[in-house]
């Protein structure tokens, strides 16, 4: 679905694995029926988890991408992360970058193309935005008339006169926007809507981010695409786009696509056609066809978070610890035997080289 012209001289690299999957994709999709089945399957798996761990019933569980990655890569570390790791830690300059970048880009599009609407044919492309200026303009607006979400946090900073924290947030937002425009291309693809809290703009949409299994109001599954391309309709001919300033490893990249595919299907009740992940640092663009294996992996990731959060109420063990570079920062590193062994052995390697 995303087929934007890329104005940069070097076409972004499409990773081989994602390309292979795209080539193998079938057609004849049933976007709504597939999402319905996924909802039932995930709900059933969550019920099984909760039935096996009665003490966990009623616990607040927030299943976002970060939790999914943590629980999948080292369940023991996820369980040890505590309330800060299990929920939304609150806005910070680092976390706000993408949200401000999306909102600022949408505001810019509103300003330069006031009559344009989603899906309309542009007569001429809008001028290229200047990211730092666009971010500053949005911050000024947010300070004057704060909306919800990240805008209210920005307004608080402005009221407090915290120009330095605002500058740090602006730095991240500018980097996000510049990378997004550079890699996705300008003008942006037609029918691309940025995901923001402000749905008044023709260039934005509120993504139905949250899904809760029936009767389980304390469990929230939340995807976090940055943009949606195409019409979100039962035909399923739409893509979810995620832009990251920095590239993940290939394994994490594929898992991110799987998580967004599944969480998006659960939230929207329709399965997207592709998940596209772009990276600002490398210019890479990986496109994943949303097929059964990808959705199954996404369902595993989601159920895995609920399982580990349920187990977190029990005594912490390191039985399923999976050591990695994250051990260096793990709150349980001093009490985790596998982690200690790894830190004393392979963990002494840094950046792919052994250390003396």
């Amino acid at each position: 679905m995303i087929s934007a012209p890329t104005p940069t001289p070097a076409a972004p690299t499409v990773r081989a694995a994602a390309t292979r999957r795209a080539a193998e994709a079938g057609t004849g999709r049933d976007a709504v029926g597939t999402a319905d089945r996924l909802r039932r399957e995930v709900a059933d798996r969550i019920e099984q988890v909760l039935a096996a761990t009665p003490a966990a019933q009623g616990s607040e569980v927030y299943v976002g991408w970060v939790a999914a990655l943590d629980a999948a890569t080292c369940p023991a570390r996820y369980r040890a992360s505590g309330a800060d790791g299990w929920g939304f830690p609150g806005w910070s300059a680092a976390l706000a970058g993408a949200a401000i970048g999306r909102a600022a880009l949408a505001r810019y599009l509103d300003a330069v193309r006031p009559s344009a609407a989603l899906g309309s044919e542009p007569s001429c492309p809008p001028p290229l935005p200047a990211p730092l200026e666009a971010v500053r303009a949005w911050v000024r607006d947010a300070a004057r008339a704060p909306g919800g979400g990240v805008a209210s946090w920005v307004a608080e900073l402005a009221r407090a006169g915290d120009r330095v924290e605002l500058a740090a947030a602006a730095a991240n937002a500018t980097r996000w926007m510049a990378g997004f425009v550079r890699v996705v291309g300008w003008p942006l693809p037609e029918r691309l809507a940025l995901v923001t809290d402000d749905v008044d703009s023709p260039f934005t949409r509120r993504w139905p981010r949250r899904w809760r299994p029936p009767g389980r109001g304390t469990i929230t599954v939340a995807g976090s695409p940055d943009a949606v391309a195409g019409k979100v309709a039962p035909s399923g001919h739409f893509d979810l786009l995620v832009h990251r300033p920095s590239s993940p490893t290939d394994g994490a990249l594929a898992d991110r696509a799987a998580f967004e595919a599944a969480a998006g299907a659960l939230g929207a009740g329709m399965v997207a056609e592709h998940v596209v992940i772009t990276a600002g640092d490398s210019g890479d663009r990986a496109r994943f066809v949303v097929d059964q294996p990808l959705l199954a992996r996404g369902a595993d990731l989601i159920a895995g978070v609920v399982r580990q959060r349920a187990m977190a109420g029990e005594a912490w063990t390191d039985d399923d610890a999976t050591p990695s570079a994250a051990c260096h920062h793990c709150p349980e590193r001093s009490s985790c035997s596998p982690g200690q062994r790894w830190l004393a052995g392979p963990g002494r390697w840094r950046a792919g080289l052994p250390t003396l």
């Binding site: 104005p7 940069t8 001289p9 070097a10 690299t13 990773r15 081989a16 910070s92 300059a93 680092a94 290229l128 200047a130 990211p131 730092l132 200026e133 120009r163 330095v164 924290e165 500058a167 740090a168 947030a169 602006a170 730095a171 500018t174 980097r175 510049a178 425009v181 550079r182 300008w186 300033p245 920095s246 590239s247 490893t249 290939d250 394994g251 990276a279 600002g280 640092d281 490398s282 210019g283 890479d284 002494r348 840094r350 950046a351 792919g352 080289l353 052994p354 250390t355 003396l356």
Partner: protein, 327 residues
């Protein structure tokens, strides 16, 4: 800074045609091909994969070429840093330059501003160290951060603040207001995947201006807290290669601004520079593959030995340090 240095950045931004035509096309293709070949060969011995790659940063690249033993020396015992004061000043200067880029402020950027910026970005090393040195710092430190409690140079947080403040004031007083059309970005990460991701060559730019899709030539600004020295040219060339491989067009130049002595150096990124830098990276890859395969790291002592974590146990380093002291 004298008037020449003061005008270098502002003049370049006002007259970008002075930067010359950026390198594109076959030169970059050739550099990438050379690196892909070198990475593929290195991976055969190094055993890296896309999920556990060799992450070749500018720091690692520098030391693989300069002294392989230092490259694998690891951190100081207990995480200590040989020149912590220098690190703190460097962090403050970097942050100040970024704030100046982002805000275009005409009023001075203070040490406290820079520290707050670092804290907001999650880097509390400078604040933590200053707090350790002076548990009760002065209430207001002004633009220079100086106060009357200064002892021997570097012995107190006040000394560090004063030194950082003086350099910061010199730097930001000459920092130009940057037109938004230059797309000023700070801390821009750049990464090039080689050998299907089993090797990544990466860096983080202090300030990046222009480049695709702005229609203006790319310009990288690197900020050094100390004095200019010839090795910064090699750093600049690596950044030029990285951005060129990522964007398909190299930055026209990398400008290094040294806050310690006010030097401003413009490194044009010409075809020969890119070719030479790619060859240096290829050499580093060969060294890295040998180290990963178990080869003993060679020591190449130099003036840097005094700051090396292995300075007390490296015979070559000790000999070099002793010879330096005798001279």
């Amino acid at each position: 800074m004298d008037s020449y240095h003061r005008s270098v950045l502002a003049d370049l931004l006002a007259q970008p045609e002075e930067l010359g035509e950026p390198v594109t096309g076959a030169v970059l293709d050739d550099a990438l091909a050379l690196l892909e070949d070198a990475a593929a060969a290195a991976v055969r011995d190094g055993g890296w994969t896309s999920d556990d790659p060799l992450r070749l940063s500018k720091w690692l690249l520098t030391w693989l070429l300069r002294c392989p033993r230092r490259a694998v020396a690891g951190p100081e015992p207990d995480g200590a840093v040989a020149d912590l004061g220098g690190l703190v000043i460097g962090l403050i200067i970097d942050a100040g330059a970024k704030l100046a880029t982002l805000t275009g402020r005409t009023d001075p950027i203070t040490v406290d501003d820079a520290l707050a910026f670092l804290d907001a970005t999650g880097d509390t090393r400078a604040s933590d160290h200053l707090a350790d040195l002076d548990p009760s710092p002065p209430a207001a430190t002004g633009a220079t951060g100086a106060n009357s409690a200064a002892g021997p140079p570097g012995s107190t947080g006040s000394d560090l603040r004063a030194e950082a403040g003086a350099r910061l004031a010199r730097l930001t007083a000459t920092w130009p207001v940057i037109d938004p059309g230059w797309w000023p970005r700070v801390e821009e990460p750049v990464r090039v995947r080689l050998a299907d991701g089993a090797v990544t060559l990466g860096g983080r730019l202090d300030v990046l201006l222009g480049g695709p899709p702005t229609g203006r030539p790319g310009l990288v600004i690197e900020v050094k807290s100390g004095r200019w020295h010839d090795a910064v040219r090699a750093d600049a060339q690596v950044y030029g290669l990285l951005v060129g491989l990522r964007d398909g067009v190299a930055p026209a130049a990398v400008v290094t601004v040294a806050a310690g002595d006010g030097a401003t150096q413009r490194e044009p990124i010409r075809p020969a520079v890119l070719q030479h830098t790619a060859e240096r990276v290829a050499v580093a890859l060969r060294t890295a593959s040998g180290l990963a395969a178990g080869e003993a790291p060679v020591a190449r002592p130099g003036t840097y030995c005094g700051f090396c974590p292995l300075r007390d146990e490296c015979p070559e380093g000790r000999a070099a340090t002793k010879a330096d002291a005798a001279a």
